[in-house]
Symmetry: C2
Subunit: 518 residues, 2 copies
């Protein structure tokens, strides 16, 4: 059993915690948290060696003959020219093997530090780190329905993340705080992650100055020297598929890579629209795009941590809507995992994806399909692991806690099968014998507390009890759980000086420029 649940007081061993921090610690609620998943089961290798080599060769052909565009980015074009690429206008073509060779300096795994060192995560290898939904402009809950997200919602989701046992990472844009000016949002978002959670977080990517703010605020939180020497952010750099690298995203990659901060470089694919309609064609394009982005990060700084990302959905050919939890997306995720492992890179994919408007059965089928395949694809960093609704337009309060509960299933499944003498249970079989009952036997008594994964949400009661209690469905039970978690939430302890410095930084930056909503 590699699952390690630790009973920990919020903010224990908080970096720089002084007297106030210690006092806060003594009164803090005890919050359970699980260590990131260290897989003790194999991955599902859907492609054979021949298929993998074919896709790799095709990706080299794409890079050699078709190439990619680095848009409005003369500095990047110059960098590519300097390492031997063929640059014509904004088009960059690569001699076979060049991009892959450049990728070799990227680390196979890296530690992302949290302000609470117990929450540090190692991303890569057999590990799986789970982070919440990213990006939705709307939120939905049972009482309030669907509405634009606000900074109050944002803070609620960060609190839910801090309270969620199986979530290892506080994430980034858990929803878009649409009531805050676009040019100041990142400050409030970072401030929330830094103060309301002690789990690792993501930086802003929407403009170069916001990346710089992310680093500056991290230096206040961790200390300047610590940030210079360690990775404290993993940020999301989407690739504008097909084969296009836009200047804003490349800005983010440049700033973060130069600072030795991690990026996920991630083709954003709706199959049939941004990539071919076939699985093998999509994998070829994904591999070509990721190789270029990873290579570029290594040109900026050799050894900068970077993650092979793949955000993949299929498309409903009738309506053009993206679709989730589908078999084609599963195949791409499985194949991309193999390609990432062959490059020796950490892999990001999957999540609690669904197209449904409600946290209903459709949402759950689609999500469970994706979560299970994500685990078996060898994903190392799973963004959107809980809370995703309506194709990513909505952060759902209820679905957040429903999905977060299911993440416990992944932990236990990944732990593998205990083959110790206790696991083999031969003495139980001897004690009980034919026709007996195991409930009372000594082996069961010794093991029952931890024998089975336990839901914190689902209903297992007899029909009559459940009926008397109001015949509640999962969404209704989840709504109750959301309120309970937010009610019990206590902020992890933080050094008051750091807290004040962060607030001061945010206030100063906000005051310096007028609000902009574009």
């Amino acid at each position: 059993m590699s699952e390690e649940i630790e009973q920990a007081a919020g903010g224990r061993r908080a970096r720089g915690g002084g007297g106030a921090a210690r006092r806060a610690e003594r009164t803090a609620v005890r919050v359970e948290f699980a260590k990131y998943i260290e897989r003790n089961i194999p991955n599902l290798e859907i492609l054979n060696e021949e298929a993998l080599q074919l896709i790799e060769a095709n990706a080299e052909t794409v890079l050699e003959q078709i190439g990619v565009n680095f848009v409005e980015n003369p500095a990047a074009l110059e960098r590519w020219r300097a390492v031997g690429a063929d640059v014509q206008g904004e088009r960059v073509r690569f001699p076979r093997g060049l991009a892959r060779e450049l990728c070799k300096t990227a680390p196979a795994s890296f530690v992302q530090h949290a302000r609470n060192p117990d929450r540090n995560v190692t991303i890569g290898g057999k590990n799986l780190v789970l982070a919440p939904v990213y990006g939705p402009p709307f939120v939905r809950d049972l009482e309030g329905g669907r509405r634009y997200a606000t900074i109050a919602d944002f803070r609620n989701f960060v609190k839910l993340g801090q309270m969620s046992k199986y979530l290892h990472h506080s994430g980034g844009t858990v929803c878009e705080p649409t009531d805050v000016a676009v040019n100041k949002r990142h400050l409030d978002m970072l401030h929330a992650h830094m103060t309301l959670s002690d789990k690792p977080y993501m930086g802003s990517v929407t403009e170069r100055s916001r990346c710089v703010d992310s680093i500056e605020m991290s230096k206040i939180l961790f200390g300047e020297k610590f940030v210079d020497e360690n990775t404290v952010m993993t940020s999301l750099v989407n690739i504008n598929s097909p084969l296009t690298f836009d200047p804003i995203m490349m800005d983010a990659l440049e700033v973060y890579a130069a600072a030795n901060q991690a990026c996920i470089v991630s083709p954003f694919i709706v199959g049939g629209a941004m990539a071919p309609v076939t699985v093998a064609g999509t994998l070829t394009q994904v591999l070509a795009e990721v190789m270029v982005a990873v290579a570029y990060s290594q040109i900026i700084r050799k050894g900068a941590p970077v993650i092979f990302g793949a955000f993949v959905t299929s498309i409903d050919m009738n309506s053009g809507a993206p679709t989730f939890g589908t078999p084609e997306a599963a195949q791409i995720t499985l194949g991309a995992g193999q390609l990432a492992r062959r490059m020796g890179l950490p892999f990001r994919s999957a999540g609690s994806f669904c197209g449904s408007k409600l946290p209903d059965a459709q949402a759950a089928y689609e999500t469970a399909n994706t979560l299970n395949i994500g685990l078996l694809s060898g994903v190392n960093f799973m963004l959107h692991a809980c809370g995703w609704l309506e194709g990513g337009l909505v952060s759902s309060y209820e679905k957040y806690v429903m999905d977060a509960d299911q993440l416990g299933v992944l932990h236990r499944l990944a732990a593998g099968i205990d083959m110790s003498a206790n696991g083999q249970a031969m003495e139980a079989l001897r004690e009980v014998g034919p026709g007996g009952h195991f409930l009372g036997c000594s082996h069961t008594q010794a093991n029952f507390k931890d024998a089975f994964w336990k839901t914190d949400l689902f209903d297992y009661k007899p029909f009559e009890t459940w009926d008397e209690e109001g015949a509640r469905d999962t969404a209704t039970l989840a709504s109750v759980r959301v309120k309970k978690m937010l009610g019990e939430y206590q902020a992890p302890a933080i050094d008051p000086g750091i807290n004040e410095a962060l607030s001061e930084y945010v206030a100063r930056k906000k005051a310096a420029v007028p609000d902009a909503f574009l």
Copy 2:
């Protein structure tokens, strides 16, 4: 793409179809059906060689030192004595290797014939045959709520099965027709499967005479000689875990094996109650039990078709309720699949399992967890593949069509990745290039119709459209689909003489004895 969807008129090539059958054929609705799954992807091998050998050695130790009980079955005890087992009272112990050796004559795969030969299924190897829920005394639908099942419900579920594209098998007790006398139910159930569906079906197992009736009615349907020479039923023989073989179930195994009809021999395990609380301990017991049952079938008739079954749930240690879609059940299913393959036997496990009272998110998470793991466990026969609700107490109309839709995901995922030139899509990548769009390219146009699995149920519409249409959840959409399918149902053609003979057999047997409800 190994998925083969055939547009077929109901009852086409119905065995013994005369003029009436041909007339019926011309007016029949065209019903789509998918061939059983032939996997083109690997299984997930969760246990390594050392662990497998350990479990196999432990199972031999269980059989050698603990043994099993054959209850109230002197003939069975005599048979065991005759092949060299150690029989003391009702306890049978086995020299190491005896049971496994006897199992070797069981076939690795077999054909179960349907009255429409297009619906024949081959059970074993890389195949996966999907059959509906089995056994619930209750039904539930959106309007009627939860209520005792009737023969009218039973017939509805058989009709839904016939109309479900991704269901290869009509199943058995799709619900318990509680309005029919217990001693006559099997006649009405078999009659429904034989006349309302042309897919393969299961026989009755609840008493020796009912097994005989199943064979007699099959002889009317297929012809006596055909049934003597072919397998036309696969029936469910549960093992009374731990390590107990009750006389009614052994009666069924004896009757069917002697007639060369297939049985699933299936330990019925609620982990922690009928087996140890650990995964490895449960696998040991399952293997020991299955080896005995398979060996016994081969003592009855060498070469009789038999399936390695494993029905496994975990338990909620607070309430004692069985739980579904859990990681421990997944691990057992994966491990049992490996053990079955090492014995060269077809494997039955998994299904649309859930504990939820409603076809809601809990139901769907639990079901999707189980369906995905079932596919990756190498299951060859999946009973309960759709319609299961509330721990198997309820056959749900809505969940039936929800699950049946998801079975299409399994078909497509199992087909593997197309690595043909068309699959590689290099010309599409060349045509579109950086920054382009694939929707209009010629490769997309040539492939879009079959590129992606399509739901018949889920909602992909824009939020506003969905909202205007009533903001329906999955269960509501499913309710609409149930009515549509039952409305469009037409019975597959059947020879009127056979139809009459079946009705006459049922009427005669019903008249021969008074109703009994015990």
